[in-house]
Amino acid sequence: MTIRGPGYPGPRPALKAEPMTPDLECRGLTKRFGDVVAVENVNFGVPPGSFFSILGPSGCGKTTIMRMIAGFLEPTAGEILIKGRSVVGVPPNKRPVNMVFQHLALFPMMNVAENIGYGLRRQGVAKSEISRRVGKVLERIHLPGVGGRKISELSGGQRQRIAIARCMVLEPDVLLLDEPLGALDLKLRESMKIELKALQAEFDTTFVYITHDQGEALVMSDAVAVMNDGRFEQVGSARDLYYRPATAFVAGFVGEANRWKGKIVEAKGEALRVTTDHGLDLSASGSGLKQGDHVEIFVRPETIRIAHDAEGVARDANNMSVEVSSLLFNGANSRILVRDTKSGEEIDVALPQSKEFLSLEKGAEIHIGWGHDQALAFADAGR
């Protein structure tokens, strides 16, 4: 067997027994601005060729992480490794990562080809080679022949693709994307989501995407990290985050949920009996909780079953008769708000797309129910 040097561009050793080196790895990454901790002890690894998202509300520190990876900020503590090599202290123009900025930051003083060729010119690539590679990358993003156009002549979606091409032409180890869809309108954003995922597969490069829009993160990513207040709350697949949230924050942030505060009256392992502050009695599930604990309960509107009579929901652990207090029609995402007749608690319920409930009206009496494992309980951090 020959010994290969570190620069050997051979096929990826995908079938090796030990896990391969992540393209990007952060260990104990911390950033403080004076007394303010923006990022606190964040650890993650991104395997080669995957789409990794950091999802969090604005101000949670996700942009700070991205700027540290790109090299615009130095971490207070911790390591950033790209393909196993530490890049801490390496200036941004020497790092094998490139970034697609929030407002794209295309160079308005240059045309499309000059924008894409900028990085290659900096590397001292020959002119003929630059125009060949620019032409090739324009074909890969399905915009052949726009090289001579000005940036201002392009549509929002085209600019998006040019911004990605400008980075991808440099063949970075990791591409960072800082909410690049934020400035687009809704329809374009939906189609760009699919296109971004396709581009990622096309270039087979590791993408690290930050966003506050869960739709973007869940649809595109192989793995999503949910971030809050400088910390990672949970890292997992979109499905994990949605069905098995690890913390109250994740349960509330990913997807929609009815959220009640309450107290555990009985705990048998993971099965709990809870009374909410408004006096609604519920069966719920949650781990590591005991009787008397204050908890927050999350129930997703789409997991709640509706029936015209009590029989329809009799087998659910939680069932009640409610009165419709308002109808919120929004096509496939239609909702009804119902009020529990006993406790007066308001509950948000997704309206099924069957014709059965089409004629539902305000004030109508219906029955709703859900299983105990659909009501997730987490210790209430606020009390």
Partner: protein, 287 residues
């Protein structure tokens, strides 16, 4: 509709009056004066004699060229000093600091130009502050005269023009998105290449509009060359002044005035052509 129209003309009136009475009429009169020659008491005839005098007298031509070249030099020096200052104010300083720094550039202009120039005289003269300081430090064994030469005059011109370069530069540099500069670095650019390929092309309208204003101000400056310049530092405006006031030769003075106007127009046009800018763009974005 008619009320609208009356309003429009009323609003237009001050501009038309200003342009007509203060700029166009005097210039027409000046042009007429410059094209006549006095043949006797209160007797004039049309003539190109005044322009011929300008073209054939070496002192006039030399002073004319000197003024243009020195003004260009003053413009370039002002740009070189003002660019880093503006970049710092627009891109490095943040919030309150930014406002304070900008104000610091403005404060000297609260004092009249005359007083400001006297300030330089106090600093630079033989018995002045700098001369005294050099002597007390033992770096000079006798009073040093730093006034009345081209360097002192250049100092005065640059100082007077500074603000008019800093304002348009700061404005255009502020309009450059920080992310664009960061993208320049992110894609492998060094500080010099980012400056050359991104910052300067973006700031070009501001650079050109600042240069035009500073050049015009220097070319038409009378006070600074008179007060700080030496016997050899003759400025073209001084020639115009002496023709009008000292020699009472309005005809030649008017011709000189027009030569200066043509020269400045030509140089501004050349500057715009060289940098590929249009007057519309530079004035629109710069101011």
């Amino acid at each position: 509709m008619t009320a609208n129209r009356i309003g429009f003309y009323l609003l237009l009136a001050p501009l038309v009056l200003w342009l007509g009475l203060l700029i166009i009429l005097p210039h027409i009169d000046m042009a007429l004066v410059s094209f006549r020659a006095r043949v006797g008491p209160r007797q004039y005839e049309a003539s190109l004699n005044n322009y011929a005098v300008f073209a054939t007298e070496p002192l006039y031509l030399f002073t004319f060229l000197r003024t243009a070249v020195m003004s260009l030099l003053a413009t370039i020096i002002t740009l070189l000093i003002a660019f880093p200052v503006s970049y710092y104010i627009a891109k490095v300083a943040k919030g309150r600091r930014q406002a304070v720094l900008f104000l610091l550039c403005l404060i000297p202009f609260w004092v009249s130009e005359l007083v400001r120039t006297f300030g330089w005289i106090i600093l630079l003269r033989e018995t002045g502050v700098i001369s005294g300081l050099l002597q007390s430090l033992g770096l000079a064994d006798q009073p040093v005269e730093m006034l009345y030469n081209d360097a002192a005059m250049m100092l005065g011109l640059v100082y007077t023009s500074m603000l008019f370069m800093v304002v348009p530069l700061t404005t255009t540099l502020e309009s450059l998105d920080d992310a664009v500069i960061e993208a320049g670095y992110d894609l492998g650019g060094s500080a010099t290449s980012v400056l050359r390929e991104i910052v300067i092309p973006h700031a070009m309208p501001g650079i050109v509009s600042g240069c035009i204003v500073v050049f015009m101000l220097s070319l038409g400056n009378y006070l600074t060359p008179t007060m700080l310049g030496g016997k050899d530092s003759l400025w073209f405006t001084q020639l115009i002044y002496s023709q009008f006031i000292v020699r009472f030769n309005w005809e030649l003075g008017a011709a000189f005035g027009f030569c200066l106007l043509f020269a400045s127009s030509f140089i501004v046009w050349a500057m715009l052509r060289l940098t590929g800018q249009t007057l519309e763009r530079t004035m629109g974005e710069g101011a």
